[in-house]
């Protein structure tokens, strides 16, 4: 392990995050519209009211002043306050983590396990009927709009058959709550989300395996008489996993970022909906904070993947 390298990579995060914040802040300021538009639709709010509301939130000041104020507060650990009610932005984000990780974690776990099995079998028996079915299935799963699919699942399994609840993360009625109830609510959104993710992961695994099993050292291993199960486990699998570790690192922001569409359809109170609402209402403090958290996770995920790779793959050397 080369600690110098790790420290250098961590230090490199700083300019990247500053760059992202400036870019994000400017884009939001330059985009037309603003959170006061919501007040316009309120019939007893007049133009003076809107000017006063802007002033109260400091939105009448020049852009660079607003940015520096925001950045200074961010550095001291104050993530600012939502324009809608003034709640602390960090609290708003932290509140959504459990539900988000629950949904995304379940869906990702299903997707990675199923994707691995489907991808490995497909590669091992390339151009078999199973491989064709898996490929076609993945294509269909990736093409179905999640919004429509989610609504159909609710219509059939919740409204017609009554097997599952039609949304939310728990039954709110007294006496009906508990672990099993939460699990019952999780099934449909997790499976809907897992469908698309499984399709993606099965393709990743398939191509990673294919690349490896045509390598010379696999042929050598077969040639020296090793049983093919052992060749697969010891030689093919380990090497096929390498590119997937890099991919797994990039799942970190996905895990915390939530799923916009699935969360909306199933009324799941995750990060995706928080982001969507904040963007719809132009609640910039929330949008900025989520942008920063996501950027941080992207960089962190990549860093962890790089370090993990360097440990597993002796060919990788730091420079």
């Amino acid at each position: 392990m080369n600690w110098n390298y790790v420290v250098r990579r961590v230090l490199m995060m700083i300019p990247v995050l500053i760059g992202v914040s400036i870019l994000g802040f400017s884009m939001m300021q330059l985009a037309p519209g603003g959170f006061t538009a919501l007040y316009t639709l309120n019939p007893n709010t007049s133009a003076e009211d809107i000017e006063r509301i802007k002033r109260a939130w400091g939105l009448d000041r020049p852009m660079h002043v607003q940015y520096l104020t925001w950045a200074r507060r961010m550095l001291t650990g104050d993530w600012g306050n939502s324009f809608r009610g003034g709640a602390n932005v960090r609290d708003l984000i932290v509140e959504r983590i459990p539900a988000t990780v629950q949904l995304m974690g379940t869906a990702l776990a299903i997707a990675i396990i199923l994707g691995f099995v489907i991808g490995a079998l497909g590669a091992y028996r390339q151009y078999s009927i199973f491989d064709y079915l898996a490929t076609t299935g993945a294509l269909i799963a990736l093409s179905i709009p999640t919004f429509w699919f989610g609504l159909m699942v609710i219509y059939i399994f919740a409204e017609r058959l009554g097997w599952i609840p039609s949304g939310g993360s728990e039954s709110l009625r007294a006496g009906e709550t508990g672990f099993l109830d939460r699990l019952h609510h999780l099934v449909a959104p997790a499976l809907v989300l897992a469908l698309v993710l499984t399709a993606q992961w099965s393709r990743y695994f398939r191509s990673a395996f294919l690349e490896v099993i045509h390598q010379d050292y696999i042929r050598t291993a077969h040639a020296k008489g090793l049983p093919s199960g052992l060749v697969l486990r010891r030689h093919a699998l380990r090497n096929a996993l390498l590119p997937l570790i890099a991919l797994a690192g990039m799942q970190l922001p996905v895990l915390f970022g939530g799923a916009l569409v699935t969360e909306s359809v199933f009324g799941w109170a995750g990060m995706g909906r928080l982001f969507l609402d904040a963007l719809t209402f132009r609640d910039f403090p929330v949008v900025m904070a989520m942008l920063m958290v996501t950027s941080f996770l992207v960089i962190l995920g990549n860093l962890i993947a790089d370090i993990a790779l360097s440990i597993i793959d002796p060919r990788i050397r730091f420079n």
């Binding site: 959170f35 133009a47 809608r84 409204e159």
Partner: protein, 563 residues
């Protein structure tokens, strides 16, 4: 076959739709009747049940519990009426009842001085905040001071800016002096306009805009106390045993967010929610909803009117005949029946047809393309080579904007676009996200026309001054909400007279006259009065449609379950 002709063919469905509408009206009757039963009355031998909970489903999240600060009327009005009170409440018949005030001030009882300038509110004794502190006139004074505080992002000062001084001679008296007589002033003190906030908590906050009170720890005087808010999921409130109008029968009320409308309906059908509130039953399932067992659906009249808003400063809208022609070329009945499944009702004014000041004798503009063409010919607009009319080198071509993605609005626009094209008018659809179209674009009157729903500045009062007075055009003066840039001296005079006149019958005459002018000049085209397609479980007693309030949940403390 053009979409337009296909739509005309569907007009054949109208009869069916009317029948459906009548059925819907039956629902209204039923809802009102249920609400009219005195508390504790046993229906059909069923016993009233103490306790229990009600889950109310809504498509948007309640977010700001400070009654003065929230922006999302209709959504955040719900927690306001659950947890907070105003001095007065407005009843479904448009009359007032005392709430935190001990009586409704009138000239007869000495509450209003004969010149209309001094208002005296006697406050109810023995009212406490949820934390046990007594409610006094100091809280009312603090509420007004907060509204007028320049550093607080209060949603509106409408009415409060007419106050010259507010005095509190003792703990239970508030004396308000107005700068000038202002007839709608009584509405200022109702729920949804001015909820009273606690002095003993909020006066200690350095910045009320970000006070934890707004989102995590609201303290009111209302029938329910705050329990929890789970972001993106639900709000829970529990019974306030000391409520001054009698404690609620229900133990808890949960307001649940169901963001997608089709799913909101599913939850109503499966019983996961007990009451379906804003935005209600999705129109294409309205007919099915009426056949659901153990459910009552109500077409709840709202104050919101759907308009075509004109930017009257544009050259082609200077001549009222052009706007009259455009009105004749909108097939309102088909829009209501086909796009909105017969749920909303037609209105010829900016008021709902139920409003006490609605003028029933206004001229109407039936769908008549020949009449529309004749009006445009008369106004000197001649068809050019491309079929679009031209006058003095100006083509009769303009944009119409609304929130992008609002499906029914977009269908309405497309249909209007077709019928207007028939009379040689080119309308281009230019939709934008809500945060854009309702921002500067609206306020600075940068639009040609908008498709938009608004209710009146003070919903239960007919005064439209801020939206129509010539001195209140934000693009010119930075003040008001006259985004249509309407300028009419006679209308100005009537509106000035209307707010100073205190006699209701005389006010009616004034607003009748004003509506006549508007129906002739057409600064906007009223299309229909929104009817909210709501519903509740039939063993829930007490649900009451209140057309003068932004929510029907104003009397939840009277609701109970029948066994």
């Amino acid at each position: 076959m053009s979409d337009y002709k296909r739509m005309l063919e569907r007009v054949g469905q109208k009869e069916l739709n009317r029948r459906r509408l009548l059925k819907g009206a039956g629902g209204i009757g039923l809802g009102a009747a249920a609400g009219a039963f005195p508390r504790g009355l046993r229906l059909r031998g069923a016993r009233a049940q103490e306790g229990g909970e009600v889950i109310v489903g809504m498509s948007q999240e309640t977010i700001n519990y400070n009654p003065l600060l929230y922006a999302n009327t209709g959504i955040d009005t719900v927690p306001e009426v659950l947890m907070f009170d105003s001095l007065l409440k407005i009843l479904p018949d448009g009359t007032f009842a005392p709430n935190l005030a001990a009586e409704v001030p009138t000239v007869e009882n000495g509450g209003i001085s004969p010149d209309g300038l001094t208002w005296t509110f006697k406050l109810r004794q023995g009212v406490t905040w949820h934390d046990g502190e007594p409610f006094t006139s100091r809280d009312v004074r603090f509420t007004w001071e907060t509204v007028m505080n320049p550093d607080v992002a209060v949603r509106s000062r409408a009415g409060h800016d007419k106050i010259e001084s507010l005095d509190t001679p003792d703990d239970h008296t508030v004396i308000i002096k107005l700068k000038e007589p202002f007839a709608p002033f009584i509405h200022v003190w109702t729920s949804g306009v001015t909820g009273v906030i606690p002095h003993h908590i909020l006066s200690k906050e350095a910045d009320i805009n970000i006070a934890p009170f707004n989102t995590q720890s609201p303290i009111g005087t209302g029938p329910f106390k705050f329990v929890e808010h789970v972001g993106g999921d639900h709000l829970t409130v529990e019974r306030n045993p000391n409520y001054h109008l009698g404690p609620a029968k229900l133990d808890r009320v949960i307001v649940k967010v169901v963001p997608e409308l089709p799913v909101l309906y599913t939850q109503f059908k499966t019983g996961e929610i007990d009451v379906i509130d804003y935005q209600g039953i999705v129109p294409d399932r309205w007919e099915e909803a009426q056949t659901l067992p153990d459910r009552v659906v109500v077409g709840s009249p709202s104050n919101f009117v759907e308009f075509i808003y004109f930017n009257n400063a544009r050259p082609f809208f200077q001549d009222k005949r052009v706007k009259q022609a455009l009105y004749h070329a909108i097939d309102v009945d088909t829009i209501i029946d086909v796009i909105y499944y017969g749920v909303p009702r037609r209105t010829n004014s900016y008021l709902s047809p139920d409003h006490w000041a609605y003028n029933p004798d206004l001229p109407t503009y039936p769908f008549d393309l020949d009449r529309a063409n004749a009006l445009l010919d008369e106004a000197g607009w001649v068809r050019g080579d491309d079929g679009i009319r031209v006058k003095d080198g100006v083509r009769l071509s303009f944009t119409n904007s609304t929130t992008a993605g609002a499906t029914n609005r977009e269908a309405t626009q497309q249909y209007i676009q077709q019928t207007w094209k028939e009379i040689g008018v080119e309308m281009t659809i230019n939709n934008m996200p809500a945060a854009v179209v309702w921002g500067e674009y609206t306020i600075q009157s940068q639009f040609d026309t908008l498709l938009v729903a608004w209710d009146n500045p003070i919903p239960s009062d007919p005064d439209p001054t801020s939206r129509l007075h010539s001195t209140l055009i934000p693009a010119e003066s930075g003040a008001g909400a006259n985004y249509v840039q309407f300028k009419n001296a006679e209308a100005d005079a009537l509106m000035e007279q209307g707010v100073t006149e205190t006699d209701q019958e005389k006010r009616k005459e004034i607003y009748y006259k004003l509506q006549e002018i508007l129906a002739d000049e057409l600064p906007w085209l009223p299309i229909f009065n929104w009817t909210d397609p709501f519903g509740y479980k039939s063993n829930l007693v007490g649900y009451q449609v209140n057309p003068y309030s932004a929510t029907n949940l104003g009397n939840v403390y009277e609701w109970y379950w029948q066994e």
